[in-house]
Amino acid sequence: MKHSEVEILDAKTREKLCFLDKVEPQATIAEIKNLFTKSHPQWYPARQSLRLDPKGKSLKDEDVLQKLPVGTTATLYFRDLGAQISWVTVFLTEYAGPLFIYLLFYFRVPFIYGHKYDFTSSRHTVVHLACICHSFHYIKRLLETLFVHRFSHGTMPLRNIFKNCTYYWGFAAWMAYYINHPLYTPPTYGAQQVKLALAIFVICQLGNFSIHMALRDLRPAGSKTRKIPYPTKNPFTWLFLLVSCPNYTYEVGSWIGFAIMTQCLPVALFSLVGFTQMTIWAKGKHRSYLKEFRDYPPLRMPIIPFLL
């Protein structure tokens, strides 16, 4: 069989980094990355970006050499993506933080509030309820990371973990400080407000989980296929009729519920920031759905039915 040759050049300096001869034409980019790592072990496959054009888009791991517009000698350009960390590691770290940090404030561990409050307990029911909801939320996220989600990419740049953890841990501490403060003021409309907020929170948590399960079922284990999500028998998934990313819709709803429950401005701000970020993600996802699928349902909006 005719073998191909692959030369790999640095995308910025055009320096010849590696020459691979006797490459099978059916070899995938993933296999070429593995071969490249042999000669440059510091660049493990996850941090390699190989492309046909120095300024072009990265080739996918599944792309087959034969199917690319190259001759028998392929020239690929390499760009170092920097140190990488797995998505699972990032998610577990960024979610474990808030779970733990909130509890520090809930139990009024020393050096947070005045010494006379150390290890005391709030006399407001809503404070205990809030702790349960917040903890449930993050335990759910951790379990979903371990058992539900199917990730398209294995890794992300290392610096993201510092950025993400600062965001999650910082906001968790800020919120928890006020909710568990000895001078905390319970909601203006009392038990009515808390009950309504709890209902919103629970519905949205169930909704969010339902969507995660539906998305998981779209994609067989170990695959990276993308399909249009559709409503299932589960009523919570019927939001797919109106919205591309109902998981984000439900997530915002959960936090709005939590904000109403605790009547705490930092929670409202956290919801707002989260909403802004999720809207950006939802719009991006919506756009890629539209690009990839000709028959994408036209009624759907990215995140808020009919509006956004």
Binding site: K12, R79, D80, G82, Y178, I179, H181, L183, Y184, T185, T188, T262, Q263, C264, L265, P266
Partner: protein, 249 residues
């Protein structure tokens, strides 16, 4: 740090390569946008010139800086607040600067004028106020005239030279003036508890302006060198045609 020096041209561009690119952008930008930006930059140049002259006249007449802020505050507030438009220019794309960069620059100025100097009256006669006012005034006159001339396609070399050299002194001077002013304001802020919310309150939030000012002062430490070295890199590129290979991000 609030010296408003960024490489984004609020209206034009400087040397050959950038001019060609900017000319292309201008063609896309449209006649209305160019006309508006030209007017805007001329108006701002004039405004800051008026401010400079008023400051000089005050000092020549009174021989002291005491009362100087009060005498020019209306003009300062008008023209510095008007600069919020620059964020809009970035948002609608008639200027190539990023919204974030422009936003940070203008916000720090607005903060200094309205949330510090205007609001904390006892520090208005501090020398440090004159220090940053002088730095800002010279910087802005240089910057806006640079943009004006670039837009009109007749940029004298000395204007370009000034824009990319004055900041070397003005930037640290401005930062010093700002930091010293905030520092002088601290005791008054602590004593009066201004702009602060205490617990308990029904929104379960608190804010201490005193600590906010301390954190702001501390933030100058990482931010000022980054902005300063960015301008130095721009200077080398524009004035000396150096090709700088950016660090891979």
């Amino acid at each position: 740090m609030a010296s408003s020096e960024e490489d984004g041209t609020n209206g034009g561009a400087s040397e050959a390569g950038e001019e060609r690119e900017a000319a292309g952008k201008r063609r896309r930008r449209g006649l209305l946008a160019t006309a508006w930006l030209t007017f805007y930059n001329i108006a701002m140049t004039a405004g800051w010139l008026v401010l400079a002259i008023a400051m000089v006249r005050f000092y020549m007449e009174k021989g002291t800086h005491k009362g100087l802020y009060r005498s020019i505050q209306k003009t300062l507030k008008f023209f510095q607040t008007f600069a919020l438009l620059e964020i809009v220019h970035c948002l609608i794309g008639i200027v190539p600067t990023s919204v974030l960069v422009a936003g940070v620059q203008v916000s720090s100025r607005i903060f200094m004028v309205w949330l510090v100097t205007h609001s904390i009256k006892p520090i208005q006669n501090e020398e440090s106020v004159v220090l940053f006012l002088v730095a800002w005034t010279v910087t802005e006159i240089t910057r806006y005239s640079f943009y004006t001339f670039s837009l009109l396609d007749h940029l004298p070399y000395f204007v370009k030279w000034a824009r990319y050299n004055f900041f070397i002194i003005l930037y640290p001077v401005g930062v010093a003036g700002e930091l010293l002013t905030i520092y002088a304001a601290l005791p008054y802020v602590k004593k009066t508890g201004m702009f602060s919310i205490r617990l308990p309150n029904k929104y379960n939030v608190s804010f201490d302006y005193y600590y906010f000012l301390l954190i702001t002062m501390a933030s100058y430490i990482p931010l000022f060198p980054q902005l300063y070295f960015h301008m130095l890199r721009q200077r080398r590129k524009v004035l000396h045609g150096e090709v700088i290979v950016e660090k891979d991000d």
